[in-house]
């Protein structure tokens, strides 16, 4: 169904384009496929699959094992409002420092995670993602019709805020689903299941050659997913 292309652009401090990489994406992940299959079913008969979030923690489809997602509600979620409420992570394309041995079974970008979040301990900060930008600056608000079919583009701009160059070798398109965690019992007795936020990689790609992003440089990463017509 789906073919995707990625594009990586690096600009220096003056905004001059210094690197462009563009190619067909290679790898939808097994985590994505498992969640996708689960979304064909209802809560009572959904098969139990294990999926892993970007940090490698497992969660499950169906309801027999916790944390569980049931039938993968809203599995393409890149909503910054929701993400901010539940985590300091920023949807949607995260970056890693090493290539992945097998992107189809990777849980996220490989090596050190360097662009994912709105936290100081990561070298990259999201740039130009915000409520005033059209669809938060993250995605096409509507599909566009192109020569190759319906196209939906999702992108991030990350600014290297650190004082060191950072090498990028892999990237992942990260969506999130809600899972429900183990029931807790406290002073008041059994509590409702905890609602957990599970970012997972739907697509993982290695870059054909690693890209170095110098301090103050901006990297723009995009995936365009095509639905043939």
């Amino acid at each position: 169904m789906l073919a995707a292309k990625y594009r990586v652009e690096v600009r220096d401090k003056e905004g001059k384009l210094v690197t462009v990489l563009e190619d067909d994406s290679k790898s939808f992940t097994i985590n994505f496929i498992n969640l996708l299959i689960a979304s064909h079913y209802n809560q009572n008969d959904v098969p139990i699959f294990v999926a892993y979030n970007v940090f490698g923690s497992p969660f499950y489809t169906g309801t027999a094992k916790v944390p569980y997602v049931g039938v993968s509600w809203q599995m393409f979620n890149i909503d910054p409002v929701l993400w901010y409420f539940y985590s300091r992570a920023v949807p949607a394309i995260w970056l890693g420092t090493s290539p992945c041995a097998n992107p189809a079974v990777a849980n996220g970008p490989c090596g050190s995670l360097v662009a994912c979040c709105n936290l100081r301990n990561f070298p990259f900060s999201p740039y130009n993602v915000g409520p005033s930008a059209l669809c938060y600056g993250l995605a096409s608000c509507s599909p566009s019709f192109t020569e190759e079919g319906w196209a939906i583009t999702i992108s991030n701009r990350w600014l290297n805020m650190s004082s060191s160059p950072v090498t990028i070798a892999s990237m992942a398109l990260v969506f999130a689903v809600f899972a429900f965690g183990p029931a807790e019992t406290n002073y008041y007795g059994p509590q409702l299941l905890a609602r957990m936020f599970e970012p997972f990689a739907a697509i993982v790609d290695n870059l054909p050659s690693p890209v170095t992003v110098w301090p103050g440089f901006l990297i723009t990463v995009s995936y365009t997913i095509y639905f043939p017509v």
Partner: protein, 223 residues
Amino acid sequence: MPKPKVGVTLRIEVRDDKGRVVKVIETPSRSFTQNFATLLVASMWSEYSISGLKNIYTFYDVTGSPIYVVGLTPSPPSGSLYLYDVGILFYSEPQGIASQYQSYTIYMPGIWPGSSFCPDPKYAYGPCSPISTNVLSPTLFSFPSSPYLTASGWQMTYSQTWTNVTGSPVVVSSLALVFGMTGDMPSPVGYLLYAAIVDNVTPAIVINPKYSITFTYTLLYAV
């Protein structure tokens, strides 16, 4: 830039009343619908953001009725059906389908046949002139139950067989892959049926009495 490796294949098999294969067509599928692409984009946002984006997403179900995805501050046209957000896109089972489809020509997810060509399949709401289940009787819709990795990528196969239970030949000119979708709604409604893919069958296929036709869509997700 090279064209991406897109894998959506449609296979059509016609069998006679003794189960012998009399015709096979295999062709790339051409048309994801605008409805599908719109729903996928809408499903990226929560109800909070759809309100904030001031963006009402409109799609059409298999009957051609408009459905609005409006976020938390709804202002859809009065009397229309609306959802706060989009939650599920690929529901494939017969249970829980919204009651308004019980009186429609076909009333559950599957690969639906139509007797007319669609002028522009990417904008069609379903197969054109859907054929009643009293004319072509369906088997259960078969859809993926486990991941299957091939040399070309993750393969997802959808299939359904329809048998001519009348005494006259039936012509099939179009077909549609129909899923159920749902989101948060103001009141319980159930899964709404929409066409994700619509294709014309050229030339049209004639199904004689007691003959059956099997439609198979194979979707590949690149690896």
